[in-house]
Symmetry: C2
Subunit: 339 residues, 2 copies
DNA sequence: CTGAAAGCGCTAACAG
DNA sequence: CTGTTAGCGCTTTCAG
């Protein structure tokens, strides 16, 4: 049990067959007669044999695993997506490993793991790549095994799974309009981010459809982080007049903004209503519970896994953009405007 | 660039040297003359060569990576620990991969990755293993490359890095005592967890030192989750009398408890004071900002990485338990008891 | 259905 | 300092 690791030779000897048969019994059972299969399995058990993945990879030129690239592991938003990915891929016999794309990771982060034989495919949750650099990636022979989820890169030829951001924003805005809000502020994501673009654009469109102007002094540039949410609170509070509602492009920013406002005695939703985006777990538990747009994170993950699997197995090609529905979760941070 | 992957042979040919020299130039530059090294590097560049990790692993019997086992990826508490691990190990040329120990993962999760050649070592942030099963793990030839961090398993022969939990609880309690609290409740972690044991014991000791009894009806069994924090709020509210302060074994539980209480019109800290444990990022941003015990997460991670590295390189042995200092962060959830 | 044998790409002795 | 050579453990033709 604690001796040298058994190798396929040892199993073959113990089972009285050749190494080739052991190999087949293990990875293509249907090619082996039932009795030999049993014998091999028994021998595997007896010797405590485990296949050496390095040797197998070298021979088959497959890694047996998929890499998930996350922009920021500390954002609880991502864990459920990973869970969705995992459930789909582990069923297909693939391991899932997760890595944080450090700040300023180059586009090579998308191909290197495959070139180096670490992964058979990549699911990237980070859209923060230089489009030009991505063109080069697209030329690589590994390009077909890259899938984006949540975020994506405009104009890039990779399949992606995304929440229906525009629809989410529209629901949020309709909810605010229905409550009677017309003076609505926006906390955006970081410049150059596709989610920022999609959500900001949808915000502007919704305002325009109501004949409302988007005011510059009610528009704050954040970066999805807690800190920028706090900054947003200060920004709005310093203005001549508070909007009656603010739409935040992420829950995290919304929570920090609300927290800072409370410290300043600005009450949500009595003084200002707030809507978030993401529906992270904590949003349900804090007070006041956050009205927000829920992303179907598990679905996002499993669809991305599906897309990648299709490509790894050569079952499908092309670069579809799959949109996953979102939903409005009305909780306690929204109410009619202050009079 | 997008052709077949270059192999070491191609580089050797291009540089006019043998494959062995290429190999040396890449992984032991000091064993090669400067001119040849340059020639090899140029050839690598020209061919776009990347070493095949599977082949290298097969030959060297090393994976070149370390696995971090996390109980729950969705807890933001872990990400900074991982960052600490990463900064130390990447400097040593090791990749870091992260996996979620699914619920009910067996002890084989600790050895399998090494047996299978996926990892050279394991840093485990999850203490939830059957001690009996761990005895078997301890016999394995991979036992020497397992390090625990944050959590650990009592009586197991593995090195570990831990926060000084007892000291943290003592500081929290002293803070409450100094404010005048004597009626103090406790929200524990899950049964069988070492952190629960350490923190609950320290709580009881602190109370005893003040001549105070630990009341059963002010003691709630949680599991570190948001949901159990909400349950704790209900539990205390249903009692005949609220304690004047509650110590929560995790920030997440504290936040959910406070949130639920606010919904019930129980105010923190006016009606009850609350102290948490962890100091997750959000604790600083919510209202009221949480008084809590800060764990030096980055340090926890880097020390664990150091410990593991020593063992991988054969520089050190044994199973030390390294204690990392914690600190009390006083914010706004604690005040003098209601009168 | 099974066995023999040839490597996958790399590194580590061992000579020179 | 450099080249030759022998595998690491596995899968996969190719025969039988």
């Amino acid at each position: 049990m604690s001796d040298k690791a058994a190798k396929i030779q040892d199993v073959a000897k113990a089972a009285g067959v050749s190494t080739a048969t052991v190999s087949r019994a293990l990875s293509a059972p249907e090619k082996v007669s039932e009795p030999t299969r049993q014998a091999v399995l028994a021998a595997v058990e007896a010797t405590g044999y485990r296949v050496n993945q390095a040797a197998r990879s070298l021979r088959t030129r497959r890694a047996g695993s998929v890499l998930v690239l996350v922009p920021n592991l500390s954002n609880p938003f991502f864990s459920q997506i990973i869970a969705g990915i995992e459930s789909r891929l582990s069923a297909a016999g693939l391991k899932v490993v997760v890595t944080d794309t450090g700040p300023g990771a180059g586009a090579q982060a998308l191909t290197e793991p495959m070139r180096d034989g670490h992964a058979d495919g990549i699911i990237c949750l980070d859209g923060n790549f230089d489009p030009a650099a991505l063109d080069e990636v697209a030329q690589s022979r590994h390009a077909a095994r890259i899938v984006f989820a949540c975020e994506w890169v405009d104009g890039s030829p990779f399949p992606s799974v995304r929440s229906d951001n525009a629809h989410g924003v529209r629901m949020a805005m309709d909810h605010l309009f229905a409550l009677g809000h017309r003076d609505i502020g926006l906390v955006q994501g970081p410049r150059g981010n596709v989610l920022t673009a999609a959500r900001t654009e949808a915000f502007a469109a919704a305002m325009a459809a109501q004949g409302l102007a988007v005011q510059d002094n009610w528009m704050f540039r954040g970066d999805f982080s807690l800190e920028s949410g706090r900054d947003a609170a200060l920004f709005f509070a310093q203005g001549a007049r508070l909007p009656t509602a603010v739409f935040c492009a992420s829950d995290l920013m919304a929570h920090a903004m609300i927290g800072q406002w409370r410290a300043m005695n600005i009450r949500v939703p009595q003084d200002v209503s707030v809507v978030g985006f993401d529906d992270i777990e904590v949003s349900e538990y804090l007070w006041p519970p956050l009205t927000t747009i829920r992303q179907a994170r598990e679905t996002l993950g499993s669809k991305a896994a599906e897309l990648l699997l299709d490509r790894i197995l050569g079952r499908a090609h092309g670069a579809p953009a799959i949109h996953v529905p979102v939903s409005l979760v009305v909780r306690a941070t929204t109410a009619a405007p202050r009079s």
